[in-house]
């Protein structure tokens, strides 16, 4: 069955440190890939997406992600974390059986120490 795995449930980093959030997927073909961010009590905001082409994708808020087909991964990175980046991060791929629907990872909660 199709799945999205975010191995890290919770991560804590210091402000100014670099960040990498992991996402692995299972999918027969090259998928579309999404990273969403959710601040406490808010809806989800799209950070970035991969459809095709350049495997390094730039997003909003200084985030980037790299698609690695050989590793079935789409890890999210930021070189220097800000306190406002504390949030929940979700990786998602379209459902192969119905691409109007998304399959979600369980999310990674990011805490930022001052």
């Amino acid at each position: 069955a199709q799945s999205v795995t975010q191995p890290d449930i919770h991560i804590t980093v210091s402000e100014g440190a670099s960040l990498e959030l992991r996402c692995n997927y299972s999918y027969g073909a090259t998928p579309y890939l999404f990273w969403y961010v959710q601040s406490p009590g808010q809806g989800l905001q799209l950070l970035l997406k991969y459809f095709s082409g350049d495997t390094l994708v730039q997003g909003i808020k200084g985030f980037e992600a790299e698609f690695k087909r050989s590793q079935s991964s789409f890890n999210l990175r930021k070189p220097s974390v800000h306190w406002s980046d504390a949030a929940e991060y979700f990786c998602a791929v379209p459902n192969a059986g119905n691409n109007r629907k998304l399959i979600w990872g369980l999310g990674t909660s990011l805490a930022v120490n001052p």
């Binding site: 009590g41 809806g43 989800l44 691409n99 979600w104």
Partner: protein
């Protein structure tokens, strides 16, 4: 700005008292979704509309109903809320761009059941 709007942002209801949550969009997207999200969990799709075509998820309780009177508006009706229905309810929209359906989310409605 084009957006997805949810009202109210916070809703308190009593056990068993019907409640309606609303969602509107100015994006003119033909797909609208309702998700339920409990604390520290990924969003769970309840159902979605493709234009007027209603698509229920197999595990969505009968207690949850939806209406989409026109392209812009979609409602979530909870006929007899139980304590377990306390959650964040997220509305999202999308429209096909090629084979992709990128979803745009509203800010959510936090439902409390007393």
């Amino acid at each position: 700005d084009a957006m997805v709007i949810q009202n109210p942002r916070y809703q308190v209801t009593q056990f068993g008292k019907p409640v309606t949550l609303s969602c509107s969009q100015t994006l003119n997207h033909n797909v609208m979704y309702w998700y339920q999200q409990k604390s520290s969990q990924a969003p769970k799709l309840l159902f979605h509309y493709y234009d007027k075509d209603f698509n229920n998820e197999a595990d969505t309780p009968d207690n949850f109903q939806s209406r989409r009177p026109n392209t812009s508006f979609c409602f979530l009706d909870i006929r007899s809320p139980g304590l377990g229905d306390a959650a964040m309810y997220l509305c999202a929209t999308s429209t096909p761009r090629g084979a992709n359906y990128e979803q745009f989310f509203g800010p959510g409605t936090r439902l409390t059941v007393l």
